[in-house]
Structure formats: structure tokens, C-alpha cells
């Protein structure tokens, strides 16, 4: 027996590193494939316009001329500020609405809760262009065209189904006994939510919020259609560098790099919380 165990152990020890190595290689390859378009965009931003459109190559003399041209032309700070205000504003508003509704659906369900949840999600299946004209007319009549408030409202509505769904899943995974114990100790519903539910599901709420920020930051359809000069965010800034006559790929890449840089840094900084939140409740 002992001999047998001894003969198996080295075999496992050998196969484990190989399996790990293969898995690591596969993981890195997938990550590289996903990251490659971003890497290529960053590299293109440091090329000249003619090099950007030439045969693809990693070997080139880097230049900052595209960044200079982009910087000289338009007010990046104004667009970036709009993006920050709109992305965080809409996320805050979405969480404010979604937390009570997800609480009600998770802890006080009715026979229609499931149907309501599915209906909410089904609104995401409608192509946005289908409601462009009615929304545009409403925004025109109430004076919300080209305003940050207008974009915050539309992004809140756009992300609400996902935010409610995610929070509902996180809340559902929380043991009800903890809330009941709180209730036994005399906590009101608000106290239950603020002192028990929110602290215990914070990683989930944080990752939901981060996802909402990222989705709002990257949204282009509504921002291009509902804003013009005052409330235009970074997606409109990127769109302004495309040209039907003349070379623009290097400048467009430089502008895109500048547009995604803040959210990329934000994503890196909050990576831990995000992964923790997304896997929250996955292993009990």
C-alpha cells in the first residue's frame, strides 16, 4: 500500500505543474486575445497617420504627434467631466431605486415577482433606435436635450434592469435568518436594510455599481443622439475624430486611448472588489 501511494504521489506532482502550465498558457492566450484590440489601439495612437494605415507592424518609431493634434483641437476635460458626472450620477440613481425594489422582490416576493423581473429584463431586448424618436420628442418638450440630467435619466433607465437583477441575486443569496434576527431585536425595515443587508452584501452592491459605471461610460447610442455641445461625453469626443476625407486612424486611436484611460484605471483599481462581488455567493 505504502509503496503504491509513494509511486502515485510523484506522478501527481509531475502532472500538476504541467496542467497548471497549460491552464496558465490558455488563460494568458485568452486574455491576450481579448486585450489585443485595446493594445493595438494604444500602439496606433503612437504612430504617424501613414504608419497607422500601412501594413500592420509592431516595429515603428513612436511619436506623440497624434496626441498633440488631439490635445490642440478639442476640450478633452469638458467631455471627460460630462462622462464622470453622467456615469456616476446614473449609477447612484440606479442603486437608489434598485436597492429597495430588489429588497422587496428578494424578501417579500409575490406570485408576480418572477414575471416582473423577466419583464424588466425584456426591456433590454428592445433595440434602442426603436424608441429614439419618442424619447427625443419627450426630451425636447421637457428641455432635457443636451443636458447631463437627461443623460443621467436615460442611463439610469437603461441600466436599471441589470442593476435590479444583480442586486436581487445577491440579496436572495443572503440567509434570511440574519434579517429575522435583526427584526426580533426590534430593527425597523430601514434599519434592517442599512445596518444588516447593505453591509453584508456590500461586495455585491459595489460590483453592481462598478458594472453600471462601466456600461454608462461606454454607452454611445444615446449620448450621440441626445447631446450636442454642452453635455456630450467622451463617446461623442471619440466620434468627432473619424473623417470621410483624410487620414484619421492615429488621431482616433489617441483620442480613444484618452477616453478609455480613466475607466481602465478605475477598473484596475477596483478589480479586487469587482471579482469579489461577481463571485459573491458563488461558493457557500
Amino acid at each position: 500500500m505504502t509503496l503504491h501511494r509513494n509511486s502515485v504521489a510523484p506522478a501527481n506532482a509531475r502532472s500538476l505543474p504541467i496542467r497548471q502550465l497549460v491552464l496558465t498558457l490558455v488563460g494568458w492566450s485568452i486574455a491576450l486575445i481579448i486585450f489585443f484590440p485595446i493594445l493595438w489601439m494604444v500602439l496606433t495612437g503612437f504612430k504617424t497617420e501613414t504608419a497607422a494605415i500601412a501594413d500592420p507592424s509592431f516595429l515603428f518609431s513612436p511619436t506623440l504627434e497624434s496626441y498633440q493634434a488631439v490635445h490642440a483641437r478639442s476640450g478633452y476635460a469638458r467631455f471627460a467631466l460630462n462622462s464622470v458626472v453622467v456615469a456616476f450620477g446614473s449609477t447612484f440613481l440606479a442603486l437608489l431605486i434598485a436597492i429597495p425594489s430588489a429588497y422587496a422582490m428578494a424578501f417579500l416576493p409575490t406570485k408576480r415577482t418572477k414575471g416582473t423581473l423577466l419583464w424588466m429584463l425584456s426591456t433590454k431586448m428592445l433595440p434602442p433606435v426603436g424608441v429614439l424618436v419618442p424619447i427625443y420628442l419627450i426630451f425636447r418638450d421637457v428641455g432635457l436635450l443636451d443636458t447631463r440630467t437627461g443623460l443621467i435619466i436615460i442611463y439610469t433607465l437603461m441600466n436599471l434592469p441589470i442593476v435590479v437583477w444583480m442586486l436581487y441575486t445577491f440579496f436572495k443569496d443572503m440567509p434570511k435568518d440574519i434579517l429575522e434576527a435583526g427584526r426580533m431585536d426590534g430593527a425597523s425595515t430601514l434599519q434592517e436594510v442599512f445596518f444588516l443587508l447593505l453591509p453584508l452584501t456590500l461586495p455585491g452592491i459595489a460590483s453592481t455599481g462598478l458594472l453600471s459605471v462601466i456600461l454608462s461610460w461606454n454607452e454611445a447610442f444615446w449620448s450621440l443622439n441626445l447631446t450636442s455641445s454642452k453635455a456630450a461625453p467622451l463617446t461623442a469626443y471619440i466620434a468627432s475624430f473619424s473623417s470621410p476625407e483624410g487620414l484619421f486612424w492615429a488621431k482616433l486611436s489617441a483620442a480613444s486611448t484618452m477616453a478609455i484611460a480613466p475607466i481602465l484605471i478605475f477598473g484596475w483599481m477596483t478589480q479586487k472588489q469587482m471579482v469579489r462581488g461577481l463571485t459573491f455567493g458563488a461558493v457557500k
Binding site: I53, A232, F241, E245
Partner: protein, 440 residues
């Protein structure tokens, strides 16, 4: 006592109110595309605002198709988001007919509207009234490398034909490394390959529609033109020609990879600029080649500035568009950015300006091409539509793009020319039936 005590405060409030009034400015929003001439216009914002202290400019710059869709939504719903719009010769009559644009009937005398080129002015008018002012205009012409032509002993005639062009392309193709005999647009789109293809069909004697709006895409003339185009570009074009539009061909030609290129006259300034082009010293110009007829062999397009009917600042908007399309503006660009950078093709006075003519040896070709292009008579047989490289009806954007895709498929070899044209004919018939031009 009370008055004395409050005096400084009252004075301050009054001063702020007066200052506020003194600086009451009208902000106008200008929607435009990211073409080089428009970038220059944006860079001269300060010059306009200094000359007009009561007006400030806000810019919205978008990709051409996004801008078109954005402006259409706004104008159709009366959103009033824009005070000035950059639109083309295609949109102006269609939008004017729907009452979307402000008629420009009271232009000031010092604007010198008579100085505008007649063909360009007519293209921006409906029933004799202008609805947009031309910012720059272009036609099409042929560029070629004089060094290659000299080496091969070819002399460019005053008016080349497409048959000659095929012979020269065959002769010159591959004589240098990575040298294509000819570069032409292949990327699908009504404003990309179909702008060129339409002129080729015109000169081969074809037309888009007969006088009763029946499509003629599988006619003999179309078949001849597209067979010629596919054969020419497949044999003597650059690799991957079906994905090359204006920008891609501009790079290829400026790096010396094309012996000939037929495209927009607006490329001339860039090709002639030594900092951007390797062929600036050996650049030759010729009129666009012809086949059966010279009619419609070169296009006419202008980017123009219009005021939407929904604008709340029409007066200020007119101040701006008359400034940006004026003779003074052209001179300002010449002095600040160099004479090859001035917006071409709009005014007689530009071509009478010695500084411009000296700096831009292509000026005569451009002027002739623009003056000779006649959107009202662009094909051998009569047509019910206006436009050289487009058909001036709202349905053309989708028709042109769809036909462009089938022709690109023929170019890549996915279908034969006959199959592509039959499919294009059926699709166009369906669209025209649905739109009510012809009976089902």
C-alpha cells in the same frame, strides 16, 4: 442713511446687471464633419468671435453618417439643437422641399453671391432659391505619376478615354515593387464606390432610372461599365481593392503605389503637399476619363452650411455662414494656413487670385471639372432625377449602399457581374415599388 448704507451693494448689483447685459451673447451650435477644411474652420473660431463679439460658437463634430442621422432626427422632430448644419449637395434640395431649411433670400450685398460658381450655387438651390452656402466643392479627375508615364513613353492626351487608361494600367502594373496600374474606389457605400461607379456608368451611356423611374441596372450599359470596372481593378488594381475607399487610395497614391488614380479633386492639395506625399514632384493631372459620352464622367459635390428651420438663432447663424463661405474667409485661410489649404471650388475670385493659382497648379483642372459637371444633364439618355454621382431622391442612400455591396461582391469574385446586377436590379425595383415611384 439707509440709502448710503446700501449704496455699495446696490451699485454692485447694478454693475453686475449691466456687465451681464453688455456680455449678452448668442451661442450658436455648428454641426460639422471632421474633414481638414472643417478643422481649419474650427481653428479660426477666435477670428470669427473677435469680429462678432455678440456671437459665440459651439462645435459638434461627428462622423459623416452619424452626423447625417443625428441632424435628420433633430430637424424632423424640430429639436432645435443645431443652428448651423454641414450638409451636402444631395441633402439640400430634399430637405429644402420638406421645409426643413431656412431659405437664404436676403444675403448681404458684400457677400457677393454672384461670385459663387454657378453649378455649385444651382446644386444648393430649389426653385431658384438658395438653401445652403457652399463651404467647399469638388469634382473628380485623374491623378497620375508623370515619372512612370515618361519612362514608358506615354503622353497624356487632353482628354483620356477609359480604353486608353486600361492599356496604360496594363503597361505600368508591376513595373515597380508594389505598384498597381490603377487605384479606384472599391469600398461599398453610396458615397464611396457608388460615387465613382455612377460616373463610370454615366460615361458608358447608362443611367440609374428611365423617365418613368424604372431601374436600369441590368442594362447593357451598366453591364459594360461594371464588367470593365471589375476587370480593370481585378487585373491591375492594388490587392484588397474592394476595401479601399478615398482615404485608403489617397495613402496608396501618395506613397507611390498607384500609377493612376481617379477620384475627388479635393485630394489634389494633399498630394501636392511634400510633407504628406512622396509623389508631390511627379504628380500629373488630367480630366476624368470618358467612354461613350463625356456626360456625367466626373461628379459634382459640395459641402455646404445651412440653417435648419428649427434654429432659434437664425440671424446669428446667417452671420456665421456668410462669414465662413465668404471671400474674406478664403483669404484668411490662405494667409494663415497656406494657399493650398483654402476651401476650393466655390468662388470665381479664388481662381482669379494669383497667390492661389501660383500655389495650386491643379486649380484650372478643378475649376473646369466643377464648371463642366451638370447635375441636370448627366447621362446620355434623359433621366427624371438630378445628380451626377447620386440620384436626388431620399431612397437613394439605401439603394446606393445596397447596389454598392453587390458590386463589391462582384469585385471580390463572390458573384459574377451579371448576377450582381440582376440582384441589384431586383432590390432597387422592390424599393422603388414600396416607395410608390413604380407600380407593383
Amino acid at each position: 442713511m439707509h440709502i448710503a448704507r446700501h449704496f455699495p451693494v446696490t451699485t454692485l448689483v447694478a454693475a453686475i446687471a449691466v456687465a451681464g447685459q453688455a456680455h449678452a451673447q448668442t451661442a450658436i451650435t455648428v454641426a460639422t464633419v471632421n474633414n481638414n477644411d472643417m478643422v481649419i474652420m474650427q481653428s479660426l473660431t477666435d477670428a470669427f468671435e473677435q469680429a462678432h463679439p455678440d456671437i459665440t460658437l459651439d462645435w459638434v463634430v461627428l462622423e459623416e453618417n452619424v452626423l447625417r442621422q443625428r441632424m435628420t432626427t433633430d430637424i424632423a422632430t424640430g429639436g432645435g439643437q443645431f443652428d448651423v448644419m454641414t450638409i451636402g449637395t444631395y441633402e439640400v434640395p430634399i430637405w429644402a422641399e420638406r421645409g426643413w431649411l431656412e431659405p437664404l433670400e436676403n444675403l448681404p450685398d458684400d457677400y457677393e453671391a454672384d461670385d459663387l460658381l454657378v453649378s455649385v450655387r444651382d446644386g444648393l438651390s430649389l426653385d431658384g432659391t438658395m438653401y445652403a452656402l457652399p463651404f467647399y466643392a469638388e469634382s473628380s479627375m485623374m491623378y497620375y505619376r508623370t515619372d512612370l508615364f515618361e519612362q514608358a513613353g506615354i503622353e497624356m492626351p487632353e482628354q483620356p478615354t477609359w480604353e486608353q487608361v486600361r492599356g496604360w494600367a496594363e503597361q505600368l502594373h508591376g513595373t515597380e515593387e508594389n505598384l498597381a496600374g490603377i487605384c479606384l474606389r472599391g469600398k461599398p457605400g453610396w458615397g464611396e464606390n457608388m460615387a465613382f461607379v455612377s460616373t463610370l456608368v454615366n460615361t458608358f451611356g447608362g443611367r440609374w432610372f428611365d423617365e418613368q423611374w424604372n431601374p436600369e441596372l441590368n442594362s447593357e450599359a451598366w453591364n459594360n461599365a461594371i464588367t470593365f470596372y471589375v476587370d480593370l481593378l481585378s487585373n491591375y488594381g492594388p490587392p484588397g481593392a474592394s476595401s479601399n475607399g478615398f482615404n485608403e487610395n489617397l495613402v496608396l497614391f501618395s506613397r507611390g503605389n498607384c500609377a493612376m488614380w481617379v477620384d475627388a479633386t479635393s485630394a489634389a492639395g494633399k498630394l501636392f503637399d511634400e510633407s504628406e506625399s512622396d509623389v508631390a514632384d511627379t504628380l500629373g493631372f488630367a480630366p476624368a476619363p470618358i467612354a461613350e459620352t463625356p456626360k456625367g464622367s466626373h461628379w459634382l459635390w459640395s459641402w455646404a452650411l445651412a440653417i435648419p428651420a428649427s434654429s432659434e438663432h437664425k440671424e446669428a447663424a446667417q452671420e456665421f455662414i456668410t462669414w465662413a463661405t465668404s471671400r474674406e474667409y478664403i483669404e484668411l485661410v490662405g494667409e494663415t494656413n497656406g494657399w493650398t489649404s483654402v476651401p476650393p471650388g466655390t468662388r470665381e475670385s479664388t481662381y482669379a487670385n494669383e497667390q492661389y493659382v501660383d500655389a495650386a497648379p491643379f486649380a484650372d483642372f478643378v475649376l473646369n471639372a466643377i464648371q463642366e459637371a451638370d447635375p441636370t444633364d448627366s447621362s446620355l439618355e434623359p433621366t427624371p432625377y438630378i445628380g451626377v454621382q447620386f440620384v436626388g431622391i431620399p431612397e437613394f442612400q439605401s439603394i446606393g449602399t445596397q447596389v454598392g455591396q453587390t458590386i463589391a461582391a462582384a469585385l471580390t469574385g463572390d458573384t459574377t457581374v451579371a448576377q450582381a446586377l440582376d440582384s441589384a436590379q431586383r432590390a432597387t425595383e422592390r424599393t422603388m415599388q414600396r416607395a410608390g415611384y413604380i407600380e407593383r
